[in-house]
C-alpha cells in the first residue's frame, strides 16, 4: 500500500541499516508500511541506562527527507530530555533538521543523548529539576526505571 512509490533514498537507507547495523542500535521497517520502523537502542555503558533495552518507533513522513523523521520512545525512561509520552527533545529532530541527515544519524544522536542528558534544555521539567538539584538521586531513579521497564522483556 504505502510502499508502492517509496523513494529510492528510503530503500537505500533501509538496505544500509539492515546490512551495516550500528552497534547497540537496530532498526527494521514494519512489514506493511516501509516508512514505519521498529527501533531498539541498548542503554550505553557507564550510564544509568546500561543494561536496558529501549524500544522506539520511527516514522518517515511524506515530506522526508525534507522534513525530519518522527521518533518516540515506547519504553518508559527517566531522562530530562524525554517526556512521559516518549517525545524527545533533540535539535536535529526540529529546527536543526537537514535533508542530508539520515535515519542512522538520528538514532546515533538519540543514543548519544542517553549518554549525555542535558537538564538545561529540558522537556520534562520535573526530571530536569531533580537532575539539577540532586544528580546522584536522579541517576538512581533512572537506574531503577531501567530495571523496571527496560529489562529486555
Amino acid at each position: 500500500m504505502a510502499n508502492s512509490n517509496l523513494p529510492r533514498r528510503i530503500i537505500k537507507e533501509t538496505q544500509r541499516l539492515l546490512s551495516e547495523p550500528t552497534p547497540g542500535i537496530s532498526a527494521s521497517p514494519s512489514e506493511d508500511n516501509m516508512r514505519y520502523f521498529n527501533v531498539m537502542i541498548l542503554g550505553p555503558t557507564q550510564t544509568p541506562y546500561e543494561g536496558g533495552v529501549f524500544k522506539l518507533e520511527l516514522f518517515l513522513p511524506e515530506e522526508y527527507p525534507m522534513a525530519a523523521p518522527k521518533v518516540r520512545f515506547l519504553t518508559k525512561i527517566y531522562h530530562p530530555n524525554i517526556d512521559k509520552l516518549g517525545r524527545i527533545c533533540l535539535d536535529i529532530l526540529k529546527d536543526k533538521w537537514s535533508p542530508a541527515l539520515k535515519i542512522s544519524t538520528v538514532l546515533l544522536s538519540i543514543q548519544a543523548l542517553l549518554s549525555a542528558p542535558n537538564p538545561d534544555d529540558p522537556l520534562s521539567e520535573n526530571i530536569a529539576k531533580h537532575w539539577k538539584s540532586n544528580e546522584a538521586e536522579a541517576v538512581e531513579t533512572a537506574k531503577e526505571w531501567t530495571r523496571l521497564y527496560a529489562s529486555g522483556a
Binding site: 537505500k12 527527507p65 536535529i92 536543526k96 537537514s98 535533508p99 542530508a100
Partner: protein
C-alpha cells in the same frame, strides 16, 4: 428657510475671525491644499505630488512597488560596491542587517571574517570533491550524478538539481525564513543566495521568494512600513529626523494614518489615547450598537427621523418642523450649534441612584456617540465631496456662469469639513480620558472644542443644505445670491479652519508634556476668552 440665521452667525464669526487671525499669524504652515492631499489623489495639478504638498517640510515618501524595487536594488548595489562582495551576497548581508547599508559596511570593515562566518559567505569550499571525479553523489537522494547535474553553494557540498529544488521549495513554503537559507548539509552554514534560488527553484517558488525579499525590505527596515489601508500595496518611508513629532502620513491611496501606531490619522491626540480608545470600543462593542441607531424619534412629535445628512442640525418634516440636535435631542436653538459638554450632574434624582457601572457607561456613551457621529459624518462628507466634484460642479458652473477656479471655494469648504470631522472625532477620545478633577483644563478644552464644533456645524450646514437651492432643477439665474453664498461659505471655511487650528495647537501643547503651560500660551484660556468677549 433658515438662511437668515446663518448669515447672522457668519457675521458674528467674521468679527471673531479677525481676532483669531491675529493670534494665528505665528503658524500658518497649514496650506489650503493640506486637506486635499489627505483624501484625494488630485491628478489635475501634477506639479504638486499629493504626498508633497501637505507640509512645507516633508518627512515621508510614499513608495510604489517599482520605487521599492528601485531602492532595494540601489541599496544592494551600494553594498556590492565593495569588490569582495558579489551582488547575491550583498542582498543576503542586507537581509541580516535589516537593510541598513551603513550597518553592513560597519560590520564588514570591523570584522569581515566574523561577518562571513555568521552570514555564511565562505571564502573557499569546506568540502573538497575529488578533482578528477566524473560523478558526484547527491547528499540528499544518495544517487550519483554527472557534474553538470550537481550544484553547490560556496561550501562545496554536492546536491542534485531535483533535491535542491525540493529543499528550496520546502523552505520557501515555510515562510520568509527562506531569505536566510543555508546549505542542506547538516551544520553547514553556507548561505544560499537568490542567484541559486533563481537557478534551482520552480517558477512559482521563485515568485514567492521574490515577494518575501520585497516584503523584507519594507518590514525589516526601521524606516519603512506598509500602508495599512486594505488592498493598498504602497509603502511609506519615514524620516524621523524631519519635522519633529508629526507622525501624520498620507498615502497615494488617499488613506492617511499615523506613522507611529499605524492607526488612522489622529493629529492632536496622542497614540496612547487612540489605542486605549480603540481597545475600549472593542470591549464595549455590544453597547455601541444602539448608540449608532440610524433613526431616532423626533423629540417633539415622536415620528421617526432618519439621519441622512452629515450635520447634526435636524429639522423634522412638515408640519412639525422642530429643529433639534441629533446627538442630545435637545432643541437646536438652546445650545446654538455645539453639543460637546458632558455634564455629570445632568441626571435627575432617580438616575443618581444608579450604580457606578451604569454611570461609567453613560460617560462612555456620551463620548462614543460623538466620536462615532463625527466618523460617519466624515465618511458622508467624503462621499458628498466626490459627488460634488463629479456631478454638481459642472451644472453649477453652467447655471451660475462660474469658472472652475471660481468654484474652488466649494471644494475647499468640503475638504475643510472632512479634515475637521476627523480632528473633532479624536478630540472626543481625548475628552473621554481627561481626568474629571482637572476642571480648568477640561473647561478650556471643552470651550475650544465647542467653538470649533459650532463653527464646523455652521460650515457643514452651509455646504450641505444652503447650497441646495443652486443645485435644484430650476436654479436661480446668475445672481447676487450666489455671490452672497460664496462669501458666506468662504468665511465659514476660514473661521472653522482657525477654530480647529487653535484646538489642535492647544491639544498638541498639552501632550507635549506640560499641561500647566496651557494658560501661558498667547491663545491660552484667559487670552482667548477675552478675545471672544470683544
Amino acid at each position: 428657510m433658515d438662511s437668515g440665521d446663518d448669515i447672522h452667525d457668519a457675521n458674528d464669526i467674521e468679527s471673531l475671525n479677525e481676532d483669531i487671525e491675529s493670534l494665528n499669524d505665528n503658524y500658518d504652515n497649514y496650506d489650503d491644499d493640506a486637506a486635499a492631499a489627505d483624501y484625494f489623489d488630485d491628478d489635475d495639478d501634477d506639479d504638486t505630488h499629493p504626498a508633497k504638498s501637505r507640509r512645507i517640510e516633508q518627512s515621508f515618501t510614499i513608495l510604489k512597488e517599482s520605487d521599492i524595487r528601485q531602492r532595494q536594488e540601489d541599496d544592494i548595489r551600494r553594498v556590492a560596491a565593495v569588490p569582495s562582495i558579489p551582488h547575491g551576497a550583498a542582498s543576503i548581508l542586507l537581509c541580516h542587517y535589516n537593510w541598513s547599508v551603513s550597518r553592513v559596511n560597519d560590520a564588514w570593515f570591523a570584522d569581515e571574517h566574523e561577518v562571513r562566518r555568521t552570514v555564511g559567505l565562505l571564502e573557499k569550499p569546506v568540502y573538497d570533491n575529488p578533482a578528477d571525479a566524473k560523478e558526484l553523489t547527491c547528499g540528499i537522494c544518495f544517487e550519483a550524478y554527472p557534474l553538470s547535474e550537481i550544484e553547490t553553494a560556496s561550501c562545496g557540498h554536492p546536491f542534485c538539481f531535483s533535491c535542491w529544488g525540493g529543499y528550496i521549495g520546502t523552505s520557501i513554503n515555510d515562510g520568509p525564513g527562506c531569505l536566510l537559507l543555508r546549505c542542506p548539509e547538516s551544520a553547514c552554514g553556507a548561505a544560499v543566495d537568490q542567484d541559486m534560488i533563481n537557478l534551482l527553484a520552480s517558477g512559482e517558488d521563485k515568485d514567492k521568494y521574490d515577494r518575501y525579499l520585497l516584503r523584507s525590505y519594507i518590514e525589516d527596515n526601521k524606516k519603512t512600513k506598509w500602508c495599512p489601508a486594505p488592498g493598498c500595496e504602497h509603502a511609506v518611508n519615514f524620516d524621523p529626523t524631519g519635522t519633529g513629532k508629526d507622525y501624520d502620513v498620507s498615502c497615494l491611496c488617499s488613506y492617511s494614518f499615523c506613522w507611529n501606531c499605524t492607526e488612522e490619522s489622529h493629529r492632536s491626540v496622542d497614540c496612547g489615547t487612540v489605542s486605549k480608545w480603540i481597545l475600549k470600543n472593542s470591549s464595549e462593542s455590544e453597547n455601541v450598537t444602539w448608540i449608532l441607531a440610524k433613526t431616532k424619534p423626533c423629540p417633539e412629535c415622536k415620528r421617526p427621523i432618519e439621519k441622512n445628512h452629515g450635520c447634526m442640525h435636524m429639522t423634522c418634516s412638515q408640519p412639525c418642523r422642530f429643529e433639534f440636535c441629533w446627538i442630545c435631542l435637545g432643541a437646536w436653538r438652546k445650545h446654538g450649534g455645539s453639543c460637546n459638554r458632558y455634564e455629570s450632574g445632568e441626571q435627575n434624582e432617580t438616575e443618581k441612584r444608579r450604580e457606578m457601572a451604569k454611570k461609567s457607561l453613560e460617560k462612555y456613551t456620551h463620548y462614543y456617540k460623538r466620536w462615532a457621529s463625527n466618523q460617519s459624518s466624515r465618511q458622508k462628507a467624503v462621499a458628498d465631496l466626490q459627488e460634488m466634484q463629479s456631478v454638481h460642479m459642472k451644472n453649477l458652473g453652467d447655471s451660475q456662469r462660474q469658472t472652475e477656479l471660481e468654484l474652488k471655494f466649494i471644494t475647499e469648504a468640503w475638504l475643510q469639513i472632512v479634515e475637521c470631522r476627523r480632528v473633532l472625532k479624536w478630540t472626543y477620545a481625548y475628552g473621554y480620558y481627561l481626568p474629571d478633577n482637572e476642571q480648568a483644563k477640561k473647561k478650556f478644552f471643552e470651550y475650544l472644542q465647542g467653538e470649533a464644533e459650532s463653527g464646523l456645524e455652521r460650515l457643514h450646514h452651509c455646504a450641505e443644505k444652503v447650497i441646495q437651492v443652486f443645485l435644484s432643477d430650476d436654479p436661480p439665474s446668475p445672481s447676487e445670491e450666489f455671490n452672497d453664498f460664496r462669501k458666506k461659505l468662504t468665511e465659514l471655511t476660514n473661521v472653522t479652519r482657525n477654530y480647529f487650528e487653535n484646538l489642535v495647537k492647544a491639544l498638541e501643547n498639552v501632550h507635549d508634556g506640560n499641561p500647566c503651560d496651557l494658560d501661558k500660551r498667547p491663545w491660552g484660556a484667559g487670552a482667548m476668552m477675552n478675545e471672544m468677549k470683544e
